[in-house]
Symmetry: C2
Subunit: 249 residues, 2 copies
């Protein structure tokens, strides 16, 4: 028996998110099915991040256990021949049997893409959130500084989340503008339900000058979802990478 770690990229547009659920097709379900067909075993993957419907990934992580003698690194090739075009394994490798992608400490990097111009660009429509309201990136950056570090992010947690604590630590929050594309990049030790999308929606309120940058302090202190801005649409969000300690990664 060995445990194999997969780095999974997907276009979330046509999926009801990562996690298996009764209401529609999910990335995990498709992955489980093709892994089961490939191995002849009944495979259930364990995923690192349960991304929402419409959210994309360049590097979500999943593990599974198998008795198949294929070397860990060959699973990427074998799976990619079977998977639909909107899911592609980027890497596969054997990891220690006790490696659990959610319980092992990790850093996650997310990017939220905003297209800020007069009219939408059709080829960007599934991978960015469009707004014609001019956004002041400097003000968004100033607001971002209040979010850095360890905070209780309860105000940035979507309803329905069941967690012991809403304290999280954001290690990096960069906002880059290139032409009419704005990218919010966040790196942290974990994110609450809808947290990155609520961060993005709130930073956009600052960018449009609906909120002054300092309002972020108040929002954090309120510990109330209603204090923050709207949840930005899923299509703009991509899980870029999950970093584990070197011996596992």
């Amino acid at each position: 028996m060995k445990r194999v770690k997969l780095t999974v990229a997907y276009d979330g547009t046509n999926y009801c998110g990562w996690q298996v659920q009764p209401n529609g097709i999910t990335v995990q379900e498709v992955l489980n099915r093709h892994l089961s067909e490939l191995t002849g075993e009944e495979i259930e993957t364990i995923g690192a991040s349960r991304t929402d419907a419409g959210v994309h990934a360049l590097g979500n992580v999943a593990v599974f256990d198998t008795r198949v003698r294929m070397p860990g690194e060959k699973f990427s090739f074998a799976l990619n021949q079977r998977l639909p075009e909107d899911i592609r394994i980027q890497e596969s490798k054997e990891v220690p049997q006790d490696f659990h992608p959610r319980y092992v400490k990790s850093e996650k990097i997310y990017e939220y893409q905003i297209l800020n111009r007069r009219f939408p660009i059709p080829t960007e429509r599934f991978y960015s959130h469009f707004t014609y309201v001019p956004l002041d990136v400097e003000k968004m950056r100033e607001a971002g500084t209040y979010l850095l570090g360890e905070h209780d992010f309860k105000s940035f947690c979507g309803a329905g989340a069941q967690v012991k604590t809403t304290v999280r630590c954001i290690h990096e929050l960069n906002i880059e503008k290139s032409g009419d594309k704005i990218t919010i990049r966040v790196r942290g030790n974990g994110f609450l339900y809808n947290m990155v999308r609520i961060l993005a929606g709130t930073l956009m309120e600052v960018g449009s000058r609906a909120y002054p940058p300092e309002k972020i302090k108040e929002i954090l202190e309120a510990k109330d979802r209603k204090a923050a801005g709207p949840t930005a649409p899923a299509r703009g969000l991509t899980l870029v990478k999950i970093e584990y300690p070197e011996e596992l990664g």
Copy 2:
């Protein structure tokens, strides 16, 4: 009566190209239909570039004549409310009645996107051509120098084209690499049928070292389509911009 110029962006994935044809839905057909509904007239647009099935545009150009009293610049807003998400007018403006988007001299800019890495990225699949064969960008740039300027591009002209001359002038040919994305950007006074895709396919043969860069000279001299490399897939190609003289642009 006035003539209105439209700058049209589209995702070509789901269209049989620009030009109206019997075999499937085209961008021009959708545009004509919505313009006719909007104006109550029977509108037939004249397009600048008849892009192929699957080719994208950020700035194709079309004109139409109308008696409707709406100011030229308002058509963009009115059309965008009616058009499907994969077509968006970027600008509309009144132009002189005799402005013809194909007969007035122009410069066209195309970009061909290549994703060059071990495995495909699902979110890029409709907008770039994937190859895992490592491409040597320096060699591609060297090959590109032979294509600059005025040449008979007969070897780079797809079958079925009816043109008086296959002489064209390439004013700019840049090949940029950013991470695992390679972008071939060409600017010229006109391009033959499939020319940019054959250029891209041929430059990729140089990048993979199937052809030495100097072979481009031979290919040009052969004046034979069979001398050049394959036609690269449509999905990687985008018509970026068409530049007209200032008084029209």
